[in-house]
């Protein structure tokens, strides 16, 4: 199952949001999710399993409880995939710095003689 498929489910996203604030017991997660989504305990458990098996969460047994925590690696993969699109909304900081240092305004007044480096 691909990372994006895992995050495709709103329940799983919500669980990860909960875990982002720190470790949580399976039961605690279950309570919140049952309250918010109205699904059963087995349902939540299955979602936890998906998160587990796809590396989004780790489990640590403590007595009869299971403590779940975020594992960020798959999220980082998604972040990496987004990289190729970041140029659509991220200002080119390096270019910006260069421009500032060289005085872009001055050059612009002189005329646009820069080749259009697909800076978009």
């Amino acid at each position: 199952m691909h990372a994006f498929d895992v995050l495709g489910d709103p329940v799983r996203r919500r669980i990860l949001e909960l875990l982002a604030d720190g470790e949580m017991t399976s039961g605690a997660v279950s309570d919140v999710i049952r309250e918010e989504f109205g699904i059963s305990q087995p349902g939540v458990s299955q979602h936890l399993k998906v998160l587990r098996e796809n590396g989004f969460a780790t489990v640590r047994p403590e007595g009869t409880r299971r403590l779940y925590a975020v594992n960020s690696e798959p999220l980082r993969d998604i972040d990496a995939w987004l990289d190729r699109f970041r140029r659509f909304w991220t200002p080119r900081l390096d270019a910006l710095a260069t421009e500032l240092a060289r005085g872009k305004r001055e050059r612009r007044l002189r005329g646009a003689d820069d080749p259009p480096r697909s800076t978009t």
Copy 2:
């Protein structure tokens, strides 16, 4: 359909990757996808529709062709959702700078008297 569901499909991810390099004709996308995934033209067209209707792509007619391009807003939404997890893999640059400025090593030698602000 949620943004993550849209990206859940490998074909749609691939289409976006193609569009990331610039506008493409529906037919051109179709050719690549058919080659890579072995699905039909209507199949590709339906994926393009999903991308369109969920704001991931824009279309511009040019004669009989349709030119598709990336629309980055939904991707930015996903990026924003990831924000709450970034602390798991991003060095806290601001905190780091502060630490460097104050001389963390010195404080650490004095003893850890900082309350554990869940800095993980």
